[in-house]
């Protein structure tokens, strides 16, 4: 028995050591690999699948979209820190919708942590890491096991001179509006989207949203919160919490610029589902943004939800 325990412990120590070497190697690799954004691209878009699918950055000259599906503000903040350290960005467009501030599941969901931690842990400082491990220690422990695979991917990417992917515009070709409509009526789980369980503002999301605001302020980056087009069925759905969301903005964030495009009426075939635009929708919406220009947009539409409605209805 003594020999067995001895060998098991020795093997475990060797295994943990090899594992740590991999984790550290990946950490150093990611730290050393810059997120290179072409110098003429000064406008950065971050956020979740809302902005990921709505703004086609290839239509713009100066815009880069690094949004990623179900990214909470925690991950957007980590990404932003690295990007602005290595690039010159003057404007940040950040996806800002009711589900971003109400839904805790996005940040602490075990599968989300599993898929995100491996990519983002090299971008975390001690406090960011503590924040996650303090709230979800087991999920973080499990997520660590996804690091070796990510390390392999990162090494191959670096060897092939490919960037480490933190997000980007996603073209959707689907249109499942009627299916989603039926599910919403029946109160069933919606595909590709989770309606918040409770309309309680997530202190964690707000904490990192405020960190983003303060970082932008310090680095003199113009921050624009942007609520992207959504279907009226969702906006009218009581549990989506539009009213509470607008109150929250007015009460706590009113000094931050905010464009609300959520109520723009677009043809049915421009939507992939209730919250995402498809290829047609994103092309239309991106061209619309381009036509207005971000500077003009600012002048015209700050806080002017009603004006905006009139403009596009």
């Amino acid at each position: 028995m003594k020999k067995f325990i001895h060998n098991i412990l020795l093997f475990a120590i060797i295994f943990v050591s090899v594992f740590l070497v991999i984790i550290i190697a990946n950490y150093m690799l990611v730290k050393a690999t810059e997120i290179i954004i072409p110098k003429h691209k000064k406008v950065l878009i971050l956020g979740d699948s809302n902005s990921e699918c709505a703004i086609n950055d290839s239509i713009f000259n100066s815009v880069v979209n690094l949004s990623s599906s179900s990214d909470s503000y925690y991950y957007s903040y980590l990404k932003l820190k690295k990007i602005i350290d290595e690039n010159q960005i003057d404007t940040l467009l950040l996806s800002f919708s009711p589900h971003n501030i109400f839904d805790n599941g996005w940040l602490f969901n075990e599968s989300h942590i599993y898929s995100r931690f491996k990519l983002y842990y090299p971008l975390m400082n001690y406090y960011d890491f503590k924040f996650l491990t303090k709230n979800k220690p087991i999920a973080v422990f499990k997520a660590v096991f996804a690091v070796p695979k990510q390390t392999m991917t990162n090494f191959f990417n670096v060897l092939q001179n490919k960037p480490i992917r933190y997000g980007g515009f996603k073209l959707l070709n689907r249109n499942i509006l009627s299916e989603v409509q039926n599910k919403l009526i029946k109160g069933e789980k919606l595909p590709f989207f989770r309606i918040p369980e409770k309309l309680t503002v997530s202190e964690y999301e707000v904490l990192y949203l405020k960190k983003i605001i303060s970082l932008c302020k310090n680095k003199k980056i113009k921050l624009i919160l942007i609520n992207l087009p959504k279907r009226k069925e969702l906006l009218n759905y009581p549990r989506y919490g539009v009213k509470k969301f607008n109150n929250f903005y007015e009460n706590y964030l009113s000094d931050t610029e905010f464009f609300d495009f959520s109520e723009i009426k677009l043809p049915d075939n421009y939507y992939a589902d209730f919250v995402h635009l498809n290829a047609k929708g994103s092309a239309f919406f991106s061209k619309l943004l381009k036509k207005q220009g971000f500077k003009n947009l600012k002048k015209k539409f700050i806080h002017s939800i009603s004006n905006q409605k009139k403009q596009y209805l």
Binding site: M1, F4, I8, F11, I14, F15, V18, I138, K149
Partner: protein, 482 residues
């Protein structure tokens, strides 16, 4: 609790330490610990169904004692029937009630009558088909006087609920496993290390082979109407390896875990995909179930003795029952029938025991003849697995007709092509390792032949990191549903 979960990774060392360091000096206490650990293991999934196991245990324990005391043949038979009815009753109620009800309604509909009966909205208790068969074997063996019943209720409860094999086998015979609970267990280094090795290989089979193949097989089977014949064939191949990796992987983990506690369980798989005919396949696939049916059904029916018709009848009975054991669906029954059709010619021509030894024994490569035999057996097995995996008989037939179309000769195309290529490569490596280790109880059993400890440990490390890097999305073990 899943073997491939963090819960089990914590549970196992705790039970191991308690077993060898706290309760080791008292056999009763050690058995009691096994009972408690087993009930926690099972209750982790759904504690309410523990009452079923407990009830089944009590019934068979009392029936066993009754059979021993009772000399009157009629009363003994009655006692046996109590055990059979209770165990099969549970199985029938939870697993087959809705199936029979649906078919009953359909039959009435066929004759122009419409009846409305409500089905049961119940969950199938995990592993019910396994532990009911295990306890049944006890009652039958005691009835046949092959086994003396136990008075030790703790040992018997531990035998019924032994956590490594409780939910998906191997289905142990009381004559083999129960006596091990009476004997003092002595820790043996080689046995424990061998167990660890088998657990590792089982995890590789499950997490790398089965879980990766599952994602692809599910995608292709669930969208079979959209895919070409070649892709459908690939989907069937993925499922073929999924079910093998999944189930034999589970058995390896179960057997390995048992060894850590000083127990020996029967071998459940013996490299079935290297079989040269279907009879050999069935001697190598789910051995604990095949031999159970052989001993408790096939032989009592007369086995292969008697006339041609009796042989045909018995073969069909055993394969159909085996199919039905897997699930309450016509697809499983047809899967069983198909295997009976494959098997019958060999039986009737008296060639069912031609290939007894390991293929290409002592050689690195098989002969052309052996290769052709293996390929043919594998191909017909793949066809049968389509029925096993399909949602319905119609689905299976459409799937098969999709394969045997002109598009069979096109390049396979599906949404996870990169994942597919990686999985095929991993399966290829897996088959090579299995082939090289086909003379052993599990493929990497003889690794100790490598003298250098560092080389050996490097190999283990390689397997562990393969599991971590190439492991697929966590899936439940397929056989949990049976």
């Amino acid at each position: 609790m899943l073997f491939n979960s963090l819960d089990f990774a914590i549970f196992l060392p705790i039970v191991f330490v308690l077993y060898w360091f706290v309760t080791a000096r008292n056999l009763k206490l050690q058995n009691l610990l096994i009972v408690v650990a087993s009930y926690v293991f099972y209750g982790w999934w759904n504690w309410r169904f523990l009452s079923l196991i407990l009830f089944s245990t009590l019934v068979d324990y009392l029936v066993g004692l009754g059979l021993y005391k009772q000399k009157n043949p009629t009363k003994r038979k009655m006692l046996l029937w109590i055990s059979i009815l209770v165990n099969l009753g549970f199985l029938g109620y939870f697993k087959y009630y809705n199936f029979f009800l649906d078919n009953f309604i359909q039959a009435f509909k066929f004759f122009g009558h419409s009846i409305s009966l409500r089905g049961l909205n119940i969950v199938l208790p995990v592993g019910i088909s396994f532990y009911t068969f295990q306890t049944l074997s006890y009652s039958i063996d005691v009835y046949k006087q092959n086994l003396k019943p136990t008075k030790d209720i703790i040992a018997f409860t531990a035998f019924v609920s032994f956590f490594p094999q409780l939910v998906a086998g191997p289905i142990e015979r009381a004559t083999h496993l129960l006596p091990q609970f009476y004997k003092e267990r002595i820790f043996k280094y080689d046995k424990a290390v061998n167990g660890m090795r088998q657990i590792l290989w089982g995890l590789f089979k499950k997490i790398v082979v089965a879980d990766n193949a599952a994602v692809l097989a599910n995608d292709i089977f669930n969208n079979s109407t959209e895919y070409s014949g070649s892709t459908l064939l690939l989907g069937a191949l993925f499922f073929t390896f999924q079910i093998y990796g999944d189930f034999s992987g589970y058995s390896d983990i179960a057997i390995g875990t048992s060894r850590l506690f000083g127990f020996d369980l029967m071998q459940n798989f013996n490299f079935p995909y290297f079989s040269r005919d279907i009879a050999e396949f069935w001697r190598r696939w789910h051995i604990s179930l095949s031999t159970w049916f052989r001993d408790y059904l096939y032989i009592p029916l007369g086995g292969s003795r008697g006339g041609v018709w009796k042989k045909i009848r018995n073969t069909f009975v055993i394969f159909l029952v085996s199919g039905f054991w897997h699930g309450a669906n016509w697809t499983f029954i047809i899967w069983g029938a198909l295997n009976a059709i494959y098997f019958l010619p060999l039986l009737l021509l008296n060639k069912n025991r031609v290939n007894i030894n390991t293929v290409a024994n002592g050689k690195l490569l098989p002969s052309i003849k052996e290769l052709l035999q293996m390929t043919t057996t594998f191909a017909i097995t793949v066809i049968a697995w389509i029925f096993f995996r399909a949602e319905s008989v119609k689905h299976a037939i459409n799937y098969l007709s999709g394969i045997f179309s002109y598009s069979l000769f096109s390049v396979p195309q599906f949404s996870h092509i990169r994942h597919g290529l990686i999985t095929l490569t991993l399966i290829g490596l897996f088959v090579i390792i299995e082939w090289l280790g086909r003379n052993q109880r599990f493929a990497i059993e003889k690794i100790p032949a490598i003298q250098s400890r560092y080389l050996r440990w490097s190999f283990y490390m390689l397997i562990i990191f393969s599991i971590i890097i190439f492991g697929g999305e966590q899936q439940e073990f397929i056989y949990f549903q049976f």
